[in-house]
Amino acid sequence: MNVSFITFRSVTFAQRGEVVLRAAGIPSSLRRTPKWMEERGCGYCLKIKQEDIPAALGQLRQKAVPFRKVYTQDSDGKLEERVP
């Protein structure tokens, strides 16, 4: 299963994002953002299935939950930043 990460500037935004996605039936798990994904220092992210990314981003935008970046796996299994 390919996984993706949506990063947030704060734990509060990530938590609100988690609530929004849960309400939309999109499972996610909240965790610390891996260091290499967060050039500003520290942050939190939501780990979700790659196929849920379009719907998840749509929900976050609709509910005005600010997120930073999206990382998805390429065909080799490497995580890369995607323009959301």
């Binding site: 734990v11 509060t12 935004f13 609100r16 610390r32 050039e39 500003r40 520290c42």
Partner: protein, 368 residues
């Protein structure tokens, strides 16, 4: 003990509050600082409270900033809105938590509306002051001394009309009256967590309707490489570790309120007790402050020194507060700056039995 000092803090809290504090101390580490279970428990606990408060006060979760008390929140709000030397209109019933920060900033203060329980006077003088030009307005929702409920909806509308940013001190109204950030359009609303919201002491909330100037600078668990405070809420207002056990207790207090009919139902019970109390005190020949637009607080001037009466009541197991209640401006408005008053402030457990107990004790003291 008959506890009638809820204006200072609620005391007989629901048992769920202490339980939540204890549980948080056993299960929660620093929120927003780690990814292990205890840190995430802390983050979850804090977010639940933030989200519940946001629903109750009609704003987004990130607009809820946790503070140490209402004074802390008011200082943050005032520092965000009022520049040194700015023109600021306030009501005649403000607490030192409002007036002292304004004096510290050298604000040019206009006091508008000094007649108790008189909405017409309050609104007229308030609009006159706004018309003359103000940089900001700060006003209490309910006087902590006299229970006067100010016309905050109309005052807010006036501020919006004159495009003056305003701050509401909801120290006595949060948890017992309707308080909503979005419809009022306030720059900030500050409130304690430990009074009407039934949380532990050391908790407070600042609802942010506009950009916040930090009072404290430090770690937030976010964007750590940036040497400026984050430009987003709530992190911008929450430097350092927040009071997780206190916030857990506050969440339990908010949940209790919601499950027991909400602020309106509790406030109604307090107001009924206050009216009954005021009428009975008048029958004893005491000078009692009462009128329309009064919350669950009654002040009176006894025939003896107010502190001595409060002391005597304390010895009979009745807790009231005497003196100036940290609000000399309100006492000056009511003409009680020299005498002070005895203040009776009801809480969520307000009852006729409390009123009867107070009256019997006062009669006993006065008949000595």
């Amino acid at each position: 003990m008959i506890y009638l000092d809820n204006g200072a803090t609620s005391f007989h809290k629901p048992s769920s509050v202490a339980f939540a504090v204890r549980r948080a101390m056993a299960t929660c580490a620093n929120p927003g600082r780690g990814g292990y279970t205890a840190a995430m428990n802390g983050a979850q606990t804090v977010y639940r409270c933030r989200e519940t408060a946001a629903k109750l006060f009609d704003c987004l979760p990130e607009q809820v900033v946790f503070t140490g008390n209402c004074t802390h929140g008011l200082n943050m709000a005032i520092r965000s809105v009022v520049r040194p030397g700015a023109r600021v209109v306030i009501s005649g019933f403000e607490h030192n938590a409002v007036t002292r920060p304004l004096h510290a900033l050298g604000a040019q203060i206009t006091v508008a509306g000094r007649k108790l329980y008189d909405w017409e006077n309050t609104l007229q003088e308030f609009e006159d002051a706004l018309r003359k030009g103000q940089d900001a307005a700060v006003f209490t929702h309910v006087s902590n001394v006299f229970g006067y409920i100010l016309p905050v909806e109309q005052m807010s509308a006036l501020c919006r009309r004159y495009k003056v940013p305003f701050i509401i001190d909801a120290a006595q109204s949060a948890g017992v009256m309707d308080v909503k950030l979005r419809p009022l359009g306030a720059a900030f609303i500050a409130m304690p967590g430990h009074k009407g919201l039934l949380g532990p002491q050391g908790t407070g909330l600042l609802l942010c309707g506009r950009e916040l100037t930090p009072l404290l600078y430090g770690g937030t668990g976010s964007e750590s490489r940036n040497q400026q405070m984050p430009d987003f809420l709530p992190d911008r207002g929450e430097a350092g570790t927040v009071n997780v056990p206190g916030i857990a207790g506050l969440y339990a207090g908010l949940s209790y309120l919601t499950l027991h009919g909400g602020p309106e139902a509790i406030g109604r019970r307090e107001r009924i007790a206050a009216v009954q109390c005021a009428m009975e005190l008048e029958k004893l020949g005491l000078k009692v402050f009462r009128g329309p637009h009064q919350g669950g607080v009654v002040s009176f001037v006894p025939q003896m020194d107010c502190e001595e009466l409060a002391d005597a009541l304390g010895k009979q197991g009745i807790a009231v507060r005497a003196g100036l209640h940290c609000a000399p401006l309100a006492h000056e408005s009511a003409g009680t700056l020299d005498s002070g008053t005895v203040r009776v402030s009801f809480g969520y457990d307000a009852s006729q039995a409390q009123v009867r107990g107070l009256l019997q004790a006062i009669q006993k003291i006065l008949n000595r």
